[in-house]
């Protein structure tokens, strides 16, 4: 987005900067324009100071060796160019987190969209009554608190007492250690995410479906098209713009995976659920290894704007299998204490005594 801002600025500043500024000053200190600026001032000040400024700072910080020692005296932070980026790329857990995040986005995203579309088609059928009721039920998970439902699902996934394994037992499937097995932890998180989010996109699909003209179906019917081919050749093409919108917001949202691993797995087992944002939190806010985090924030943002599929293909080849010796964190551990395994990989030179509380 920094490019977007520069772009917008550039277009404003075009040829005659001075004249433009003078005219702007005159126009903005008189009449309704002055009122407009006064109406805008509070909101734009908040957004400018507490959003745009930090975003720019994140970009700049990523080129310094800013860390806890520089906190007291910012002069201690030195410009290190791309040093942080180089170090980040040499860090196995970063690639692990990136891979996990892409796994979540590329499997969970399409799955969510598919379930949303299915639910929308079901609710939209003319034969069905009580549409409002079904819509409300399907939508309810969207408004729930993620932390709370993650806690609930953690028990549904319980190996011995959980409902999921109990239900699987009916069809003869042996109990699965959903959150303790590196193979199953991410699928478990994906299932929770799909359940939590499909209602939102369902609403958008429902709006899209209602905009498909009835005549198209009638024409297709007259031409002898069955239900399936009506769906293929009328519904899907007419929903293309909806797919685009839903796809983008789902992907963007899914890249920010954090609370699910925080509550359910603490990034484990064997770092199989460490996401990029989770790593950012661990690194930036747990250990105050700040230069490094600013950089990861930038990388995180950067990745979202590139064709995700191409990137995934490119990176899956490069992905190094850098799992640490990590085991699942001790369960009764105090909240602010953190798993040491994750950190060892990254910051072996950092003292271990620092934590959030002593700092803040």
């Amino acid at each position: 987005m920094s490019t977007a801002v520069q772009h917008a600025d550039a277009s404003q500043v075009s040829v005659s900067f001075g004249t433009r500024m003078r005219r702007l000053w005159r126009a903005s200190t008189t009449g309704p324009a002055r009122a407009a600026y006064l109406f805008l001032a509070p909101a734009l000040t908040v957004i400018g100071v507490f959003f745009f400024l930090p975003v720019l700072a994140a970009l700049l910080l990523s080129f310094t060796d800013f860390d806890i020692y520089a906190l007291g005296n910012p002069d201690n932070a030195r410009f290190v160019g791309f040093g942080n980026y180089v170090r980040l790329f040499q860090t196995p857990v970063f690639w692990k987190a990136l891979g996990n995040t892409f796994y979540f986005v590329l499997v969970g995203g399409p799955l969510s969209v598919a379930v949303s579309l299915g639910a929308a088609l079901l609710v939209n059928t003319k034969l069905v009554r009580f549409k409002g009721l079904f819509r409300t039920v399907f939508f309810a998970p969207v408004v729930t608190t993620l932390v709370a439902v993650a806690v609930v699902w953690r028990y549904l996934y319980h190996t011995r007492y959980g409902f999921l394994n109990y239900a699987l037992g009916w069809v003869g499937i042996n109990p699965i250690d959903w959150l303790g097995d590196p193979t199953w932890a991410m699928p478990a998180i994906i299932m929770l995410a799909v359940w939590k989010n499909f209602g939102y996109n369902m609403i958008i699909f429902l709006a899209g479906l209602q905009n498909v003209p009835e005549e198209l179906y009638e024409a297709a019917h007259i031409d002898g098209a069955g239900k399936w081919s009506q769906f293929r050749h009328v519904t899907l093409p007419m929903l293309a713009p909806t797919f685009l919108f839903v796809g983008i917001i789902t992907m963007v949202g899914y890249f920010q995976l954090f609370a699910e691993p925080y509550v359910m797995t603490q990034g484990g087992p064997l770092q199989s659920t460490v996401s990029v944002v989770y790593l950012m939190y661990e690194e930036g806010f747990k250990w105050w290894n700040m230069g490094c985090r600013g950089l990861r924030a930038v990388r995180h943002h950067f990745h979202r704007h590139i064709d995700t599929v191409a990137l995934a293909a490119q990176w899956s080849g490069r992905m190094t299998g850098g799992e640490g010796e990590g085991k699942r964190g001790r369960k009764g551990e105090r909240e602010k204490k953190m798993r040491i395994e994750n950190r060892k990989n990254l910051t072996n030179q950092q003292p271990e005594t620092k934590n959030q509380k002593s700092f803040a």
């Binding site: 930090p54 954090f258 009764g332």
Partner: protein
């Protein structure tokens, strides 16, 4: 014949729909049911659906021993404060974008829209340092101040305010009303539906927010419900029923707000999606 297949389709359809609805509602229903079970009952085989006897002990424990009342108060206070402040700031800015002509308007608006795609996480660390230098870390202000205005909110208000007739505003101006008076007494009443929508979005968003309060509130007494619940869930891993009661207290308020006002909420999603 065709009539019969119609009925058959309908039956299959209803079975699928009701099955899907039960599956969707199950985790929430079980959460409520388990919160009333005596300690340890949820950990049995087969997992019980309903409590053998209804007990309120977990709710009592939450509020007497685990300070839940305080967290409920924090969440309510923060969500209400952010909602009221952001309604004011966003509606003023959205109105300015919709109904005033001034130099730089379109450029400014486009810049804001472009910035919508930046995830908040990018700004979190510098924002934290900024708030720390302002003395706002570990205060309610640390949550309220950065979220007092939002680009999405301005956008939503602006789109709706475009439909307010210029003639009404002009008439008020000719009658000599001040600009603030016009905004307050003419425009605000006309955009009430979108204000309700934005209020629900903001309230729920703040209530459910986890990462930022986790970062900025380090003092136990300031925790919001989701932060407190996450902390509990790491400390009380074995206390199923207690955790379910905590989850109910956290989820129930937003669920009720949604059920009461869902028309506005869904309308907001539609509006956001139409323009994208």
């Amino acid at each position: 014949m065709t009539h019969q297949t119609g009925i058959a389709t309908r039956v299959v359809l209803y079975i699928v729909l009701i099955g899907a609805a039960l599956l969707t509602a199950f985790p929430l229903l079980w959460m409520v049911s388990a919160s009333f079970m005596p300690t340890g009952e949820a950990n049995s085989i087969p997992p019980p659906l309903l409590p053998s006897e209804v007990t309120f002990e977990h709710y009592r424990q939450l509020f007497t021993q685990l300070n839940m009342g305080r967290y409920l108060f924090n969440s309510t206070l923060l969500a209400t404060a952010v909602t009221l402040l952001s309604l004011l700031l966003n509606s003023m800015a959205g109105y300015a974008f919709a109904k005033f002509r001034f130099p730089g308007r379109d450029g400014l608006f486009k810049t804001l829209l472009a910035a919508l795609v930046i995830p908040a996480q990018v700004a979190m660390l510098p924002l934290f340092l900024l708030l720390k230098s302002m003395g706002l870390v570990n205060t309610y202000g640390g949550v309220i101040v950065p979220t007092m205005a939002s680009i999405f909110g301005i956008f939503l208000i602006r789109q709706y305010t475009l439909s307010v007739p210029d003639s009404l505003i002009e008439a008020a101006r000719i009658d000599g009303a001040s600009e603030f008076r016009i905004y307050w007494s003419v425009v605000l009443p006309l955009i009430m539906p979108i204000l309700v929508t934005l209020a629900i979005f903001t309230f729920m968003g703040t209530w459910n927010d986890f990462m930022w309060p986790l970062i900025v509130l380090t003092d136990n007494d300031l925790y919001t419900l989701p932060v407190a619940l996450a902390v509990f869930s790491r400390e009380h891993v074995q206390d199923n029923e207690l955790m379910m009661a905590g989850a109910v207290v956290t989820v129930l308020p937003v669920l009720l707000v949604f059920l009461a006002l869902q028309r506005y909420y869904i309308q907001g999603i539609m509006m956001g999606s139409v323009k994208g």
